[in-house]
Symmetry: C2
Subunit: 125 residues, 2 copies
């Protein structure tokens, strides 16, 4: 059980940042109408608002490098909590930006998960 | 509702780090038998194991300074998700350690909350 939570969490993280770096608009498939995103303190809710926010970020191409992934089962049945730390590499920038991101994943009947809670923060030194 | 989630989350964060810095053993009051802590990748569960882990940290006096607190309502009824970033100041150390910590708070009948999920990570530059 614990092992499965860890495997699902890591697979989700790989999938999420792979989509983010290669085809950001397709991240919409991972959110639901109830989903919430807090991005650097700005809160948006629902698939459309979240995707607008992600599309409006002031960089096109980017590359996430993951440092740590911690997972725990949520008390919400079948849910998974994930805390990610890593760095965001932007073209033409020498210094990557360190970030932390928290996800709360909720199962859907098809055997997959959607992101109910998503909080992103850059870590300033 | 959103405002209340934010107020409760911030009050919890102030309380948690105040206890941590002044009377670490009393943090036991914030955990339940089902609680989980991942500390720098090490997982422990339950009040006793969590408090043993916190007591065994290789520093006595410490001081947390909070930089950001993000809160969202959890899909678990009445639950609150919290992501904290901040720095940990240790006596005799010139450079504070940056950290991120995620909490999932669950309401208890007395009108208070306990920590069900707790993930702590230092942010290396």
């Amino acid at each position: 059980m614990e092992h499965q939570v860890e495997m699902v969490g890591r697979a989700f993280v790989d999938h999420y940042y792979n989509l983010f770096d290669s085809d950001r608009v397709s991240l919409s498939s991972l959110y639901h109408p109830t989903s919430m995103l807090s991005f650097e303190g700005q809160k948006v809710q629902g698939v459309d608002e979240i995707c607008s926010k992600l599309k409006s970020l002031p960089f096109g191409q980017c590359h996430h490098v993951i440092s740590t992934v911690d997972t725990q089962p949520s008390p919400f049945p079948g849910g998974i909590m994930v805390l990610v730390s890593g760095s965001l590499h932007l073209p033409g920038e020498d210094h990557p930006l360190r970030f932390s991101q928290m996800f709360h994943l909720i199962p859907i009947p098809e055997g997959s998960f959607f992101v109910q809670n998503d909080v992103f923060r850059l870590n300033y030194g």
